[in-house]
Subunit: 224 residues, 2 copies
DNA sequence: CCCGATTGTTACCGCCCTGTCACCGGCCGG
DNA sequence: CCGGCCGGTGACAGGGCGGTAACAATCGGG
């Protein structure tokens, strides 16, 4: 599990790094916004701890940039009493925050809670009913047919639907989970992705059996 | 969206209630642990705000009991500087916490973030007498008939009537709850919506059994 | 740097949801 | 008796939403 910690305060950065390393995480450290972003691009960590006050680029900018290309869990660090900052951070897509000063134990608990919520520590069942998803190979098998190759986004979409197999998942939620942002005007992206995925996995894409539409609500995967 | 707020401080409870009601949530209030648990059992809310320090049963116990039977999002309220409490709360399965004092805006932001993370629309089918409402699928089943698809507005209307099953809901209130703010002269909208809903759920739409008219007052749902 | 794969954007079609108008019938007070 | 109010019903136009296609932009590996 790879965690990126970005903070301009060298001591705090080292403390965080030490704490997380003790807990068995692989830690990447960055001292300012730009290098945090660069490291994020190169290493694609599984979780990001981000100080709001940093030279170069504020934590907000970094968070926004990260959200543009990933839905990785983000924890923001802030000083006490800056509630406006918190609201803005959460609106920008941050998943959680910590108020300085905090104890290492608290940080660890929050990180674990977030990873648990994000479903990153339990390998979800890959097979369900007719659908068998191979995340490493980026392929699905339907019933006992040939494996079909999926793109990154298709895989992610199918993963989300499979995790909620039999239940409708709202379009907004899919947008958030697949792309990481939630401009609800972006339904066209989802339409297209669903269409392309159907071409690959449905026997007759015009009459979907697996990936069904719940009009006005979202989509659901029928696996039985 | 139903939210249970449990706090022994009456003023704070009312403030939370007012804030959430303003934001359009249906709020249930409890003043101590046991009644919070009881209300949780009976109402199955979509999110719980839980004060750690309560008479009867501590927030910890309530949180633990809730976690034994549900994964509903839980936000814990705590006083400043009790970090051990926070860690324990998160380990017990709480999803988030707030340090008192907090601003209403912060509370709202955290609740929204949590609902978003939790998927916001995954409410279990709501059953009452002959009527079973599946909010995530946008469908109703009457008695043991086939599920009928509902539109957004029909769903909202039925939801409101079902929440007050057996009691008359005034037309003005329905107008506000279904459409938002409207001048009360807009009864035609409601007439049409009721008519369309009856076509879908009544055995004989000309003689309504379920969705009955309370002349001069409003409508009520008869489920038994 | 190039080519193909992948992803995002624009446009269009068809369905049906929704708001609105128009009309009917019953009830009530003048 | 009649005119107004209320609730129910039918019809219809506009627009929103989902599906599809075609194209542009971007990514990624050789």
């Amino acid at each position: 599990m790879k965690i990126l910690a970005a903070d301009d305060d060298r001591d705090l950065r080292e403390l965080i790094g030490f704490t997380l390393a003790q807990a068995g995480y692989l830690v990447l450290k960055a001292g300012d916004g730009p290098s945090a972003l660069k490291m994020f691009e190169e290493e694609s960590p599984d979780l990001v701890v981000l100080d709001i006050n940093m030279p170069g680029a504020s934590g907000f900018q970094v968070c926004e940039a990260i959200r543009k290309r990933s839905r990785v869990p983000v924890i923001m660090l802030t000083v006490r009493g800056e509630e406006e900052d918190l609201v803005r951070a959460l609106e920008l897509g941050a998943d959680d925050y910590l108020t300085k000063p905090f104890s290492p134990r608290t940080l660890l608990a929050r990180i674990k809670a977030l990873l648990r919520r994000a479903g990153m520590e339990n390998t979800a069942p890959l097979a369900m009913g007719r659908v068998t998803l191979d995340i490493e190979e980026h392929t699905v098998k339907i019933a006992s047919g040939e494996p079909v190759r999926l793109t990154k986004l298709e895989l992610r979409l199918l993963q989300m639907l499979l995790a909620n197999a039999g239940h409708t998942v709202s379009s907004d939620r899919l947008l958030i989970q697949v792309w990481g942002h939630r401009n609800s005007g972006d339904r066209q992206l989802l339409k297209q992705l669903v269409h392309r995925l159907r071409q690959k996995i449905e026997a007759d894409p015009a009459v979907p059996q697996l990936l069904q539409t719940a009009s006005g609500a979202g989509y659901k995967l029928v696996v039985d």
